[in-house]
Amino acid sequence: MNGATNLAPILQLTGVRSGYGDTEVLHGPSIRVGDGETVVILGPNGHGKTTLLRTISGLLPLRAGEMTFAGTPLTGRPPDAIAGLGVIHIPQGDLLFPEMTVLENLLMGSYRAPAWARRQARLEEVFAFFPRLGERQKQLARTLSGGERRMLAIGRGLMGEGRLLMIDEPSLGLAPVIIEELYRRIGEIKASGRSILLVEESAAHVEELADRVYLLESGHVVREGQPNELLADDALLRTYLGVD
């Protein structure tokens, strides 16, 4: 195996099964994120990427398998307790507080006690990071554009001072300029030493960012490896992601 995998895992998933109602979506993938590592999960839409993040953050119940974060089992914990451990799920932009202002949304990101005391300092950082959010801090979240919502979701995640950021498809439905800006920001978050688990449909922006890549198809991990091997394999990408 390669160097990055030698890092002590901060997140360890083993044989995770989960889904909605009678439909099982995740058929037991095992995934690991090292401390300080950036792991990208690539896969087509509808193959379990969002389900995976929702299962880790506790919004969906785990049906079988094990999940540990920094050695602590996550199984059976409510989502607020999992967030309290430092697992921050940054959703696609649909899980904001629509009738609250940008500022109030960000403050809610610091809801947990230790982060709440430092919310002013975090706010300044987030506004420096995404000046657009600073300009719109009095605006209701539901009035924001798609790109601004994504910035707000990431900003809210940064307010939480988490140890692991799980980011759901930052590029979905956004203009290329905005995608590039978002990925520059995510690169800076990575440089700050935090662990990142990012899911994406497209391999276009993740090659430089990722330390390690998983391919998730139909609820299974079909490949795992270094980005330079996996993403250079055109045949592989064509097969699993349908790109040319």
Partner: protein, 293 residues
Amino acid sequence: MQNLVQATYSGLVLGSIYALMAMGFTLVYGALRFLNLALGALFTLGGYVAWLVAGQWGLAAMLGIVAAFVVVAFVGAGSYQAVFRPMIGRPGWDITTIIASLGLGIVIENVILIGFGPRNKSIPLLLEGGFRVGDLLRVQYQQLLTLAVSLVILLLMGLFLTRSRHGLAIRAVAQNRDAAYLVGTPVHRVFAIVMAISAGLTAVAGVLLSAVFFLNPGVGLAMGLRGLIVTIFGGLGSIVGTLYAAFVIGLLESYVSMYLGARWALPALFAFLIAVLIVRPGGIAGLAEEARV
């Protein structure tokens, strides 16, 4: 003219009490999406706590209001943990919680009946006396105090919901429960806090109204109905809509009582509500999503 002025004034005083009462329904509906029909009984319970503290033990009447808020808030939070929390999220919970709240209300009313008997009681007035404004208006200090207490509490609620960490959390849970979970909000604890605050507000309304009229184990029923009318008229879960609705309903009731007689008040309110709902099914604020909890 004299009647009109007097009725308008009484309507505003009534409206301020209804606003407290309906805020209880609205907060719970906004955050938990269920109508807590036990609030009528908690209104009554608030009156009895104040009657015990101020009427029987002879302590300051203001202390009676505080005691009513605290005691009934605990009852509200306790009812969440014991009765409603196990139901929420289960299949059919929207119906089971309503039925359970109705049952809980009946239990509370009957406990009051057994404990205190059926006879009318009166809570000592906080302030005696009043003054006249020419021939137009008779003002009791008690009524002014009622207005003041209601408005101050509503103002504090507004500040709490927009400025404080727990207030933000209540609105967050109301707007998107999953998102609230993701930022680490202990959703069930927030629900318990909402139930406590709403019960406390209702109890204060109970004290204020019982100090003007009288108190018996059944007073909560009619008030619960008025609270519901205001809440639905205001657009279920909309705080600003509820405030408008409380004063509209208070004024309407006051005019009907003045010109047609008090017995027509409740029928007229329901007729008005039905007419409004035919035209605007979402109540006055139901179409605009803004200002939800």
